[in-house]
């Protein structure tokens, strides 16, 4: 792997763990096994490197989610698969956490991939719910946009309560609570 790649990967890790404000160029260099000069040769500075790292993380997150969304099964099944997919719950969401970083939110360029990713996620879920309603897999009364927003919020908030508790239990409970509620709105489809 190239030095630039190692720098980006180290930055991804540190942003996930400590956020933007809590991540120093020196820490990045040490984790990547690269010197100062090397870092400033490949990137113009901390914001530039952070941007590359955030973009890469966003891309990976979309790919992981899309794998669940495009699987086979009913709308409910696919949403369920997404909610229950394996996660490193106690590390939190590498994109969602950036939302609490004032320097990220204040900088339009750094913020853009964060906004973009969570917007995409909601829209994609809304699309799946809408499909489900159309096919009779969900009750007609279920609002796609609202439901999608609830799914994303449950995940993001699940990370928060899990980290507060120091345990994945509250995350799992929140997800199960939502699935219980959603299941009620997913009638067994009558055989054709």
């Amino acid at each position: 792997m190239s030095t630039a790649d190692r720098l980006i990967e180290s930055t991804q890790d540190l942003l996930w763990e400590r956020g933007y404000v809590g991540t120093s160029p020196k820490a990045i260099q040490q984790r990547a096994g690269a010197g100062q000069g090397s870092m400033y040769h490949h990137f113009s500075g901390k914001p530039d490197l952070a941007l590359a790292a955030i973009r890469r993380t966003a891309e990976q997150m979309r790919a992981t989610a899309e794998a669940c969304f495009s699987a086979s099964g009913t709308a409910y099944d696919r949403i369920r698969a997404y909610l229950l997919r394996e996660r490193e719950v106690l590390r939190g969401c590498p994109i969602g956490r950036l939302t609490m970083d004032p320097d990220i939110i204040a900088d339009p360029e750094l913020r853009e991939p964060v906004t973009e990713t969570l917007d995409w996620l909601r829209a994609r879920l809304a699309q799946i719910v809408a499909e489900g309603v159309e096919r009779g897999e969900f009750d007609a009364g279920l609002d796609p946009e609202r439901t999608a927003a609830s799914v994303v919020a449950t995940i993001q908030g699940g990370y928060v309560v899990a980290r507060a508790a120091g345990s994945t239990a509250p995350f799992d409970a929140a997800v199960q609570g939502l699935l219980d509620l959603l299941a009620t709105r997913a009638p067994r489809r009558p055989a054709p």
Copy 2:
């Protein structure tokens, strides 16, 4: 207001806005209109002051929530009131955001009020759901713990998606989505 109080209040604001890592003693002093010596006279350092601030914020948050919980109405009504209560959505949750602060999570003393507050919130909501089920205000099948976890996660995650979007809309949608789902499980109670 005393100097110590102004220092605590300034710290509350800054922790909310910038987190622990992003908040410097100097910034606190300036906002409070106090000098270095003054701050170090009243508090042993940044962690000590932060602890006082976090405890105060936690106390205020519990009081605000309890006002909704102890109001009159059915269990659904009270949960609804809590979900819809006025919030400064784009500022996020002053307690929940600390969850992403590595230095807070790593320090048991600083972390304790955060854990405590969110644990209390979930337990209190579970109690309300359980009451509702008992009184027939909610379906018998509704799991109190899971449902409570979903409510807290929806709020916490709602803040995340709202900050990402730069708009309160996703927060409101997530809350409405959850309320839609919950309403289905709250049958109109037959007149006695």
